[in-house]
């Protein structure tokens, strides 16, 4: 991946801004799609109430904690833009021609666009999810003094989800249609990302596998920090996020270098 020089930063900030602005155009559609989020939260609020009752806990979280946990995992997942589809369409239509002949890093362009779009989707989805969770289960006990650490972890999670998706998106350079890979990955996120249940509640074998994969650090871990902050857990999460971000950055850079040499830019 091309390193960002200080003078180059402005172009990526501008990409993030235009991506965010573009998303505002779709804001009405976006709120409509949030109905799905409300439906899922409603089902799980009923489920956790029934299963955990008044004093029960799962992985150290009571029914209120479990619903708030799910608000954050769901919001991360549904706020992640589907750039694998965009890259695939660009390769198929040949529109990638305009992306490749610009003086920027293709990967950083998409990372910036991802951050811009993710930011607005995250804020709106979180607002909807938080209102629902507050009205149905009560307030979340926020560790305000440690909120800065949690935000850092969420930011790293945003980068990590981008890298996980984008490395698969680049498979379009070889296969044009990358959807089957993304479908598998999304199911892995459901399970090993701990989307519905914290991975700490899994049986030992499954838990170890999820600890070794990046999905947990992109979804479950920051959500868990938000609802149940703990310094020992924080350092573990930040280290995991940093290691996986480095590994996936290297994979993405290598894939781009290799893929761009063989991509067919279709169309006249």
């Amino acid at each position: 991946m091309q390193l960002v020089r200080a003078g180059h930063l402005k172009k990526y900030l501008q990409v993030a801004e235009i991506s965010l602005t573009n998303r505002v155009v779709y804001l009405a559609d976006h709120f409509a799609s949030s109905i799905f989020l409300l439906l899922i939260l409603f089902i799980f609020s009923q489920l956790w109430r029934t299963v955990l009752g008044a004093g029960g806990t799962l992985a150290g979280l009571d029914s209120t904690g479990m619903l708030w946990y799910m608000v954050f995992t769901e919001v991360i997942v549904i706020s992640t833009p589907a750039y694998h589809r965009l890259v695939s369409d660009e390769v198929k239509s040949g529109d990638i021609a305009y992306k490749l002949n610009r003086p920027y890093s293709y990967t950083l362009y998409y990372l910036a666009a991802h951050c811009g779009e993710f930011a607005i989707r995250f804020v709106t989805n979180l607002a909807i999810g938080a209102v629902f969770a507050y009205l149905t289960m009560g307030p979340l006990q926020v560790a305000w003094a440690q909120l800065g650490w949690v935000i850092i972890s969420f930011s790293l999670a945003m980068v990590l989800t981008f890298l996980m998706n984008f490395s698969l998106a680049l498979l379009a350079f070889w296969f044009e249609d990358n959807r089957p890979f993304f479908w598998i990955q999304s199911k892995l996120v459901f399970i090993f990302g701990g989307m519905f249940v914290p991975v700490e509640a899994y049986p030992a074998g499954l838990r170890i596998v999820s600890y070794l994969l990046p999905m947990r650090y992109g979804v479950s871990a920051p959500a868990r920090l938000m609802v149940d902050f703990d310094y020992a857990f924080l350092w573990q999460v930040l280290l995991g996020q940093f290691i996986w971000a480095t590994i996936l950055s290297l994979i993405t850079a290598a894939m781009f270098q290799k893929g761009v040499r063989r991509v067919h830019v279709n169309g006249g």
């Binding site: 091309q2 003078g7 180059h8 402005k10 172009k11 900030l13 501008q14 990409v15 235009i18 602005t21 573009n22 155009v25 779709y26 239509s93 040949g94 529109d95 990638i96 021609a97 305009y98 490749l100 002949n101 610009r102 003086p103 920027y104 040499r261 067919h264 830019v265 169309g267 006249g268």
Partner: protein, 335 residues
């Protein structure tokens, strides 16, 4: 000084082939077979600074593939090329600061946002400082007459307006060379004329070297001094446009709509293709008779409501070039 130098540039695409039906799909999965398509066959040419060159040919001739290699987004299979002294596929990012591209069938503008938002983004991408950016946007808005629709979302623009914005977006960073790939495709006559006028002004006023591909003979006739014709990946003609005009673009189709019915009409040295009470369609060879001469003869006999002149299609021009090359070959053989 040559700004583009191409030497024996060659591109072969390897594509997977598949027999029809389900059986073919399964076979392709288990034992994939590939075919090779040579899109560009070792072409060589040079383009001088400030030149407005037409690079023409029918669909699938290799025009776009050549542009993609010259802009660094495709790696060639063989040969060399330099644009502004850089090998495009090795110095793609460095070259990008000094070249512009317009692909007529694709868009670089954000569809739901006004063009000015895309301009602002491109200003940052090309690292244009804010004072220079404001001055430059003012210049292109004036040059391309974008004032009335620069703040309108791109999705609401006509194709002609959008194409003006596309070209303007490509020259914001003052590129030394601009590659225009079919910039007039799909445009109506008025929009085409406007785009041609703008390309000419860009070349004359900003001294930008322009590499234009098109399969519209009108683009070439009205804009370029030199033309390279490519077909099946080979250069089949590299000559001044005047040579092409005098030798190959001489046949025109004229459509005339009468103001009042005219059953009888007599025109010399033209081939009448269709004649009704309401109008006439005929073919003229301008080497035999000028359009002006035909129209003078026509106006003496009938009042007209509308007249249009069609250029020969690129396929016709290429067939003609091949036809004459074959004739010369035969004469050489006889001689």
């Amino acid at each position: 000084m040559a700004v583009i130098e191409v030497n024996r540039l060659h591109k072969v695409f390897r594509t997977k082939t598949k027999e029809p039906g389900l059986r073919g799909s399964v076979q392709a999965l288990l034992r994939p077979t590939y075919s090779e398509l040579t899109a560009v066959k070792g072409i060589s040419f040079a383009v001088e600074e400030g030149e407005l060159l037409a690079f023409i040919g029918p669909n699938g001739a290799g025009k776009s593939t050549t542009i993609k290699m010259l802009t660094g987004i495709l790696n060639p299979t063989g040969g060399t090329a330099k644009v502004l002294g850089l090998v495009p596929w090795e110095s793609r990012l460095q070259l990008a600061y000094n070249i512009g591209t317009v692909f007529g069938q694709k868009s670089q503008l954000w569809y739901h946002l006004p063009a000015i938002d895309s301009f602002r983004l491109l200003g940052s991408i090309y690292e244009i400082d804010s004072r220079e950016y404001s001055r430059r946007v003012g210049e292109v808005v004036e040059l391309f007459e974008l004032e009335d629709f620069i703040k309108t979302p791109v999705r609401k623009l006509s194709l002609g307006q959008r194409m003006r914005c596309e070209i303007a977006a490509s020259i914001l960073h003052r590129p030394k060379v601009i590659f225009l790939d079919e910039p007039t495709i799909g445009l109506d006559v008025v929009a085409k004329l406007k785009i041609r006028e703008l390309i000419k002004r860009l070349n004359e006023e900003e001294k930008t070297t322009i590499f234009l591909t098109s399969h519209d003979a009108g683009d070439i006739e009205q804009l370029c001094k030199r033309v390279i014709v490519i077909n099946h990946g080979d250069i089949i003609l590299d000559a001044p446009t005047s040579y092409l005009r005098h030798n190959y673009l001489t046949t025109k189709i004229v459509n005339v709509k009468f103001s009042a019915p005219c059953p009888e009409l007599s025109l010399s040295n033209v081939e009448i293709l269709k004649h009704t009470d309401k109008g006439v369609k005929f073919r003229v060879d301008t080497k035999v008779k000028s359009i002006e001469g035909v129209l003078t003869e026509l106006f003496a006999q009938v009042d007209t409501e509308d007249i249009s002149v069609e250029e020969p299609g690129m396929e016709v021009v290429i067939r003609d070039i091949y036809g004459r090359a074959a004739e010369v070959g035969e004469q050489d053989a006889v001689g």
